[in-house]
Amino acid sequence: MNFELSEEQQLIQDSVARFVQENYGLEARVALAAKDPGFSTTHWQTMAELGWLALPFAEADGGFGGNQIDVMVIMEQFGKGLILEPYLASIVMGGGALKRGASAALKEEILAGVIDGTYQLTLAYAEPQSRFDLHDVTTSARVDGDSFVINGAKSMVLNASTASHIVVSARTGGGQIDESGISLFLLNADTDGLTREDFPTVDGLRASELAFKDVRIGADRLIGEVDKGYEILNATANDAILALAAEAVGAMEVLYKDTVAYTQEREQFGHPLSDFQVLQHRMVDMFMEYEQCKSMLYRATMEAAAGDPETAQRTIHALKHIVGKYGIFIGENAVQLHGGMGMTEELRVGHYFKRMLVIDSQFGNADYHLQKFAA
């Protein structure tokens, strides 16, 4: 057991931290989020050049063979600046599905572009009726000769407006909520019959509703085996949860530290707010839950990296539960302790708080994972 980062991880952490420090002040973030494409293509290129996009891919595929711990190191720093670039969507979600299931030919065709930033991926898994269940899939893929024909809808697809390729889950067999009978496909974003409705999310990111009308796709675009996509999907979702939790932990740190700083500057009743014991205790609670989330993040990430999926699965449920619950707790209290200022868009805390809310809604909220854990 050892919690030290390797020298390489330490270097990456420092360089990501520097990038965030230099590029992701609140004003810069707000300006990027406000105009298309909703992030900086220059930053995206920088991330490719620094090798961050290559990190979790196998060396054979042109990557650095990193694991969940390496991604955690990056995402935690990203969380401190609420980075807008589609790292989660393209590298962790879309890339995660491809590296697990794609054929050698498909990997060869796509991954180099993902790693150098020319291609951008995302994963379309949620549906209007599915809520948080990955296995609730009604979008269908019907066999027709040596291709499939996809019909249905996908919801809240992260960064789909800029994606070049979309990994889609569709039903090739079984009933609506069966884990078997789900297959994954890699679609070009401009495929005929695929339409998008794009919109911002409350945290300043972008998402889309997708509709599939007789979308024809070759069997060679299948990721993994027919009907066996769920396992890949779930493993990818687990990686996404780990990445989101790392981002959340970075954001929580900003929330509690900004609050500690603000209450020492702001005076009321002739005292800094931080003199008031009830506020001190609240900030200790915020700090305590931040540390708890960080511990659970380490636990889950290390278990996942150790390659023990069953143990890791339970811990990942636990992680998503407490990150959702305490992320919102810390956000609400950061706002409360800032008083009226916390309610404005002028300070960071409000923006980080909104990100906490969205993180809770992605890949299952606190209640959902509590029930999974208890089951």
Binding site: R131, M156, V278, Q336, E345, F353, L357, S361, N365
Partner: protein, 389 residues
């Protein structure tokens, strides 16, 4: 003790329902006209346009039970748009501390909703510690007017208000609660600049108000110079009892359950999810108790007693419940609560739910932040004396 409503009270409820039905807004009607007409008709019912005013000023003089019934019924009906600052906040001050001329001048317009008011209390340096406010009002040499300079912040609706009631400092030689003067003045005049503040959901309701050499005739001063704090404190009490919103919360909870029934969850709906049901039930239980806390408080007020200890917790409990309902609405919205485009995505309530939740975070900040309210309860109700500070 008797929990049954008397025949009289039941008739009253019927009467209220009938009134709301008869005067409901009809599609196509001019809204502004309908609104003023509604208040006129309510006035003809005998003060239904100003339920909390005393009969001396045209209020209905209802019993606590009638107030309770009114609150329940208004939570369900669609009433015309109204703001609390006129009828609910400045009018009680004018009635209690204003002179006859001021009452004649201001109350009719407030009552008819012809004039919109805003509340100029908070300042950048004076939030919870309101008494430390610094906006200066200097009496002119001839004693005819004040000259006001300073900055007010978080002023809700300042951008649409016609008048402001404002706390100003006329003396800083003594205790900070002394030397505060209560002034009324029009918003649309030279020397007043209103700058919007955008809050978390992207909404514009609050503002910064810059006051530069604003002339206010002495006739617009309420009561005595230097006594404004005493007047404002009475008003804050009014403001707080109005903020619990329990009946509205009960209706909101019903709405939330309806929404949850429309959210698919596997082969059933979210309303069949035991964890969700339990959270909604917990809220209902807290509301059932809080409703009776409110009734007890109304009853002791009607008996002429000072607001009982139970009233001090209403704002705290009521706002906490409102926030929990909003939070559960966001949870019910599921993946769609993140969507923030111009139109709703996925389901009809998620976007409004998120906006409502974000706005609700202010409920425990304004009208006395919860932490400070609890200090007040500890000191004034529990009688806890502190040895220092």
């Amino acid at each position: 003790m008797d929990i049954e409503l008397s025949q009289q009270d039941q008739d009253f409820r019927q009467d209220v329902r009938q009134f709301f039905a008869d005067n409901a807004y009809k599609a196509g009607e001019d809204y502004a006209e309908w609104r003023l007409e509604w208040f006129k008709k309510a006035a003809e019912k005998g003060g239904w346009d100003v339920p909390k005013w005393s009969p001396e000023f045209g209020g209905p003089g209802w019993t606590p039970t009638q107030h309770y019934i009114w609150e329940q019924e208004t939570a369900r009906a669609t009433l015309p748009w109204d703001m609390p600052f006129g009828v609910g906040m400045v009018a009680p001050i004018i009635m209690a501390y204003g002179n006859k001329a001021q009452q004649d001048r201001f109350l009719p317009d407030i009552r008819a909703r012809r004039v919109n008011w805003c509340q100029g209390y908070s300042e950048p340096g004076a939030g919870s510690d309101l008494a430390s406010l610094k906006t200066r009002a200097e009496l002119s040499a001839d004693g005819s007017h004040y000259v006001v300079n300073g900055t007010k912040i978080w002023t809700t609706a300042a951008h649409i208000a016609d008048w402001i009631f404002c706390l100003t400092r006329t003396d800083d030689s003594g205790k900070k609660q002394e030397g505060i003067t209560f002034l009324l003045f029009p918003m649309k005049q030279d020397g007043i600049e209103v700058k919007p503040i955008i809050t978390l959901g992207g909404a514009h309701s609050v503002n910064t108000v810059y006051l530069t050499d604003v002339k206010v005739p002495v006739e617009n001063r309420i009561g005595e110079q230097g006594k404004g704090w005493t007047y404002a404190k009475g008003l804050l009490q009014h403001e707080r009892t109005g903020l619990a919103g329990l009946s509205r919360s009960l209706v909101a909870l019903e709405g939330l359950r309806d929404n949850a029934r429309s959210v698919p969850r596997g082969n059933s709906t979210l309303m069949d999810d035991p964890a969700f049901r339990a959270k909604a039930a917990e809220l209902e239980i807290d509301l059932m108790a809080a409703e009776f806390t409110e009734l007890r408080s109304l009853a002791s007020a009607a008996a002429g007693a000072a607001p009982g200890p139970e009233s001090s917790i209403l704002k705290l409990k009521g706002t906490e419940i409102q926030q929990r309902i909003q939070k559960l609405t966001v949870e019910a919205g599921g993946i769609y609560s993140a969507a923030w485009g111009p139109k709703p995505v996925g389901n009809s309530f998620a976007k409004g739910g998120m906006a409502g939740y974000l706005a609700s975070r202010a409920y425990t900040i304004y009208g006395g932040a919860s932490e400070v309210q609890k200090d007040v309860v500890a000191k004034n109700v529990l009688g806890i004396k502190r040895s220092s500070r």
